[in-house]
Amino acid sequence: MAKILMKGNEAVAEAAIRSGCRLYFAYPITPQSELIEYMAKMMPKVGGTFLQAESEVAAINMVYGAAGAGKRVMTSSSSPGISLKQEGISYIAGAELPAVIVNVQRGGPGLGDIQPAQADYFQAVKGGGHGDYHLIVLAPNSVQEFADMASDAFDLADKYRNPVMILSDGMLGQMMEPVEFKPAKTQEEINTLGEQHTAWCICPNADGDAKHHHEINSLELDPSVLEKHVNHMYEKYAVVEKNEVRCETYNVSDDNEVLCVAWGSASRIVKSAINELKKEGKSVGLIRPITLWPYPYEAIVKAIGPKVRQVYVFELNTGQMLDDVKIAVEGRVPVKFWGKVGGIVFTPAEIQEKLEACF
């Protein structure tokens, strides 16, 4: 298939539809508007459901209902809207339902602004909603990857019966890059996907079947039973941590004197700076977590070469991933942080300057 020049917001929507998503519930917010608009245009054409909910709270609960019915379902929003969805996300995780949530991050806190930011790392990775649970969090850094992650996210959600968040930002949502889509799932494949969860989901009894009574629920008032349930979820999470960690290494070698850690949009800019430094004969490596949970702790340790004297974390926030990098590095080398906030995206020149000071 030929490449198409597309915005990240549109590409992830198209890819979701191709992955068999036929239900989408959301509420408008900048800078994810192209996503909801694309779904409004395309879902009717594929016989799917597009519904603009009365609020983000309602939208995520519609997702809960549709996911409880065992179907591939997605919602999307931007930072303030994702905060509103946290209630439902916790319920979805607690009830072990598969669902995909896209966050096109903007500056915060509060209403903040509508420019790109990475300030929802804590919310996505360290909790967000109430209770003990994890989201699987995928962080793209290109339009192509944003699109590819839609199908990955649905597969992971179905495999582990857990909500998956694609943590993008205003830059990736708004920018256009060439994107090549995977072939769309056939109706037959979609039907199969739609029936994969009938052992537990809300679904009709076939005539003559034994009647089932499936409960979609996150409530358990008996503490010992709830304890078992949470422990069971964490056994599942251990499997996810073992099997699903993903990251990219860029220019990592034994010559590295500095190792950068950056994710999402920020990593693109760091790459530019690394390329410039290369011309000056300065060796800087980059490790880019693709899954923010589970986090690539081991990969970071492995990437610290013999000459590395500084690990440098760059984010579009005040250092939310920094703690995870420190946990990985365990004091082997000093860890530094620099970032920009308020929706200001740092430039390659700024990163270059920061890195040059390490030499």
Partner: protein, 181 residues
């Protein structure tokens, strides 16, 4: 090789489209491309700008700090972006809307009364096509043929008159660009 470009003007001049067509043609010519717009309130009546990168290598940052090419359709765009253009870079300036001119001596300046020329061709709507033409004529960043094919594919049936005007504007732009070589 990597070419980084910023197009800027006020909302409604079609600057985002300039970047989009160039990125699209670059993609069709087998290059890596990225297109990153300013968005939000800026788009609604204020200044709008878009960073476009066309490269033989994978594109790292889509944010352009030091453009190789600046297309500035009004004075605020010159004021904001001209200082960061790379030494020896190209500045394409619409003199009709840039009364104070460009402060840089160390760049390759293509200055033309682009608004007047657009009206002459038939509509202010073709201002952005004129700019694309100048970029092609001056830098050869993309090929005219790719643009023509692109425009044909969606305008030929829908609005043949506009197609003709667009193509005329691109050709005129190419002439202007080449003259400055």
């Amino acid at each position: 090789m990597t070419t980084e470009m910023i197009c800027a003007g006020f909302g409604g001049q079609g600057v985002l489209t300039i970047g989009k067509f160039i990125a699209q043609s670059g993609m069709k010519e087998g290059k890596n491309v990225s297109w990153l717009p300013s968005y939000g309130p800026e788009m609604r009546g204020g200044t709008a700008n878009v960073s476009t990168v066309v490269s033989d290598e994978p594109i790292a940052s889509p944010i352009v700090s030091f453009p190789d090419i600046l297309v500035a359709l009004n004075q605020p765009s010159i004021d904001k972006f001209a200082p960061s253009v790379r030494k020896g870079g190209v500045v394409i300036m619409n003199t009709n809307m840039c009364p104070h001119g460009c402060p840089r001596e160390d760049v390759d300046l293509v200055a033309a009364p682009m608004s007047d020329i657009a009206l002459e061709i038939g509509s202010m709507m073709v201002l952005n096509m004129l700019a694309i033409g100048i970029v092609i004529g001056k830098t050869g960043l993309i090929k005219y043929e790719t643009m023509e094919e692109d425009l044909n594919s969606f305008l030929k049936a829908k609005n043949p008159d506009l197609l003709e005007k667009n193509l005329a504007a691109i050709k005129r732009g190419i002439e202007i660009g080449q003259k400055h070589e």
